[in-house]
Amino acid sequence: MALANTVYNTFFKRNSVFVTTIFASAFTFGIGFDIAVTKFYDRWNQGKQWKDIRDKYVQEE
């Protein structure tokens, strides 16, 4: 209950703070979501992408 009140008083009481928090969290969430999806995609397609098999075909001079 104390935690809920603290959260309410910190974030939800003023609409300006509420909206700012929403936008800031949306920004962070977008980045985090992008990173997570990319990681999952890379793991799912491990060994199939060009960056994984590049060593087999390109010899660095």
Partner: protein, 272 residues
Amino acid sequence: MATLQAVKKAVSLAPTVRTLPSGVPVAPLLNFAVRAPHDSHHGTSGPRADIPPKWTGGVSRTSTGLVSKTYLSVPTQQYRLLHTSVARKDAPEVPDFSHYRTNPDSNRALSYFMVGSLGILSASAAKSTVSEFLQTMAASADVLALAKVEVDLTNIPEGKNVIIKWRGKPVFIRHRTQGEIEEARSVDWKSFRDPQSDEERVKKPDWLVMLGVCTHLGCVPIGEAGDYGGWFCPCHGSHYDISGRARKGPAPLNLEIPAYEFNDAEGKLVIG
């Protein structure tokens, strides 16, 4: 007739125009008995409906001042309401809903948290919608790859022209000799049509890099031709000198210089 009507016309004045010494306001033209003007649209003229009839009383002027009298009598008709049942004086008891009500403080934070979470999801969805849509307008990777051109300068001997294609347009690269550099710098460029010094047009005096499109109507000039030893446009006879400046003919401007950089380590020229 018209004048008569004008005279008989009822005039409403402000109630206190002037006061007598006794304090009584003077309203000489105020006539409560005036009848509504005869009007064919409204049938017969009768007593005015907007003022009470004289028998109910009214204001009269006496020697002592204004006297207002009202004759009241008990109305003869009886008021009957639409529903005749007796009103219950004891209001029916409202059920007690407090058992069903929740404490407003108990999950307030949770409610706002859910609202805020939905807001976060919507905001990031809207943001990615907009940014993905804008990315469809950006240049694709193959276009970006074509936007830059590398030229190996070691293969171009002195005094030779090279024409390469860059973004669908020809680019002239001239490895100028020392004599040509001196010639380009010695002339009085301030009198030209598009005055520009040779130092402004080249990054290194040996290398002249410019767009091979005639500034007149867009033909491709011919190298090592013309009266000034530079370029000559065969379409309408514009002459450019060894610095690519318009010297003769209809061309209004000097040949355009693209953005380019030298890569000294590898002896390469990067255009774009």
